[in-house]
């Protein structure tokens, strides 16, 4: 984060504020559009989403994962398969589309749960403080020192009738704590602000203060955290999938494709299996994170105005 840049952003934002009072969200959007790289990253994300989610509409999930050993290991550009086929004769392009859609969906699902739980816990913990806060924070501390990935792997392999929802819940169990901690710290700093005290004095209920007054003040932080968290969760999902403990085996994911790199033969002579997926994951992670960071810079600029 460059201090100078922040300064100029603040100035710019101030100038605009004089002409027309804008909402926080619009300031953020404008800052992102101004940043050319962030805009490119954003367009990339939209394109990937359109291709994967749009493309998956034209694909039959059962057909994509149907195996046909005769067509196995076609190289790129042969027999009408643009990126070749895998060990079961499945088309890599189709697998990429379905796989990234699934990985993104899992990432989104985990993020929705973690953000909701984390936000709620953070609000309660930060707003009430004292005893409640101490108890909640000890629990958060404890979950954070647990070895997340080994436990996730064990749970994935012992749960009977394992479904994608199980995976979302398992990852979420470890994921909400950092969000809760992040929002708690911020709510704690808002607790003694005049607007909260004024609202309390005028008899507003705690719930109203938390959700109608404190929450709107942290919306920009929520947006930033959501964006960064989606990227992080896609990373966790693909990592688990890569070592073989993600979604049920019949459901394709970016990680399963990258997992072909576990076999030295594939690494050397069949790069079409894993290289496109690896590059796609690289592009997805880099773009989402860049947009997230641009948002947080813009958020800082807005924060300074207040």
């Amino acid at each position: 984060m460059t201090e100078n840049k922040k300064g100029t952003l603040t100035k710019k934002a101030k100038k605009e504020k004089v002409s027309s009072p804008t909402s926080g969200f619009r300031v953020i959007v404008r800052e992102v559009v101004k940043d050319k790289i962030a805009l490119t990253a954003f367009i990339l994300i939209v394109l990937i989403l359109l291709l994967t989610f749009g493309g998956s509409l034209f694909l039959n999930a059962d057909k994509v994962s149907e195996t046909n050993i005769i067509d196995a290991y076609y190289s790129w550009g042969t027999a009408g398969h643009f990126l070749g086929t895998d060990d079961g004769g499945r088309d890599i392009v189709n697998l990429l589309i379905m796989g990234s859609r699934n990985s993104i969906l899992i990432g989104l699902g985990v993020t929705v749960i973690c953000e909701s739980v984390g936000l709620l816990v953070g609000l309660i913990s930060g707003y009430y403080g004292g005893y409640i806060d101490a108890v909640i924070m000890r629990i958060v501390d404890f979950i954070q020192v647990l070895p997340a990935m080994p436990i996730e792997i064990v749970l994935v392999s012992v749960i009977p009738h394992y479904t994608p929802l199980n995976l979302v819940l398992i990852i979420s169990f470890f994921g909400w704590t950092s969000t809760a901690r992040y929002f708690r710290a911020f709510v704690l700093s808002q607790r003694e602000r005049d607007y909260v005290l004024a609202s309390k004095t005028s008899g507003s209920s705690d719930l109203k203060i938390m959700f109608r007054e404190v929450l709107p003040n942290i919306t920009s932080m929520v947006i930033i955290d959501v964006v960064l968290m989606i990227a992080g969760n896609i990373g966790i999902e693909t990592t688990l999938e890569y070592i073989g403990y993600g979604l049920p085996p019949t459901i394709p994911s970016l990680g399963t494709l990258i997992g072909f790199a576990n076999d030295p033969v594939n690494v050397v002579s069949r790069p079409w299996l894993w290289l496109p997926a690896t590059i796609l994951l690289l592009v997805i992670s880099l773009s989402i994170n860049y947009v997230g960071r641009a948002l947080s810079r813009a958020g800082d600029a807005r924060q300074r105005e207040n």
Partner: protein
């Protein structure tokens, strides 16, 4: 000082107890028991039942838990269902490899991160700083295993500079031969891990330097006429290096949790690889023991972090 350390250790005790209960129930959830590996068509099911009863598998859960904890204190983590050897010896073999890999990456990581952090903080907003920021952004954004795969593909397979699996070459002999071969196997995975773990140290150091630059004591030093170089090295740097000491514990925990991925990509026979192998073979005693060890080491890493922090920063002690 000792009070803080003592209090911090006392906090760890309930955490340890809850961890052990959690691991115990996780173990109970796993299918199989010590005898499932020994059953063949000729064994009498009644005999197995008797054996199970004798081993206390039908005792009340609290009794089983107490016995399990008692065994832990005796250093007995159970016997592997699959390999039929004590889990402790199985893990000890692998732990040595993980230890060397972690040590190597820690040393490399700090020796890259400190110069990076210093140059980013000193040349704030100049090209050095921007280069470091870009590097940090990339290593933070992309899941580590992507770097490992690209690294092993490029340097292991394509260029053939480094071995692609194992911790030692089978035909290495003699003290120096063995040592050389071991180091040769560690270089690629160790360096890749090191590059990825630099982020937190670099950020701590950079922020520290940037913040300290504008402190009053620095202005005082400047106005006293202390040369620029001395102000930076003796005043700013010394104060900014303190917080990175505390990141040591976190770095260690990060290495442990990351060991599984890197060892899996490089087929490096460490604890992480053992964990993945055990889950593949459904060797649940080994799994349970490993989760317990991972959890314990994470707790220890955090403890270390807090203790170092309280040593370098007296303000924390007073609180």
């Amino acid at each position: 000082m000792w009070k803080t350390v003592l209090r911090r250790i006392l906090i760890m005790i309930p955490q340890l107890i809850i961890l052990s209960i959690l691991v115990f129930f996780l173990a109970k959830m796993m299918p199989g028991d010590p005898f499932s590996g020994q059953i063949n068509p000729n064994t009498d099911p009644k005999q197995i039942e008797a054996l199970k009863r004798a081993a206390g598998l039908y005792d009340p859960v609290p009794v089983q838990y107490a016995r399990w904890v008692g065994n832990l204190f005796k250093g007995d983590l159970g016997t592997s269902y699959i390999q039929h050897v004590p889990v402790t010896s199985l893990i000890a073999d692998r732990a040595v490899n993980t230890f060397w890999l972690s040590l190597f990456s820690t040393v490399i990581s700090y020796s890259i991160a400190i110069p990076m952090g210093i140059s980013a903080g000193r040349h704030q907003d100049e090209w050095q700083d921007q280069a470091v920021q870009i590097f940090n952004y990339i290593t933070l954004a992309v899941p580590p295993f992507v770097f490992y795969i690209l690294g092993i593909w490029l340097f292991g397979f394509t260029l053939g500079w480094f071995p692609i699996s194992g911790s030692i070459s089978p035909n290495a002999s003699g003290f120096w031969g063995t040592l050389g071969s071991e180091i040769y196997h560690i270089i690629l995975p160790g360096t890749l891990v090191a590059l990825i773990t630099t982020t937190s140290v670099v950020q701590y150091l950079r922020t520290g330097i940037v913040d300290n630059k504008v402190e009053d004591y620095v202005r005082t030093a400047h106005s006293k006429g202390v040369p620029e170089k001395v102000v930076f090295n003796k005043h700013i740097l010394r104060n900014s290096l303190l917080p990175i000491a505390s990141s040591f514990g976190t770095v260690i925990t990060g290495l442990l949790s990351g060991s599984m991925i890197v060892e899996s990509v490089f087929s490096y026979p460490g604890m992480g690889k053992l964990f993945l192998d055990s889950i593949g073979q459904r060797d649940y005693t080994t799994l349970t023991a490993l989760i317990l060890i991972f959890g314990f080491l994470t707790l220890l890493g955090n403890l270390l972090s807090d203790i170092i922090m309280s040593i370098v920063d007296p303000r924390i002690r007073i609180k």
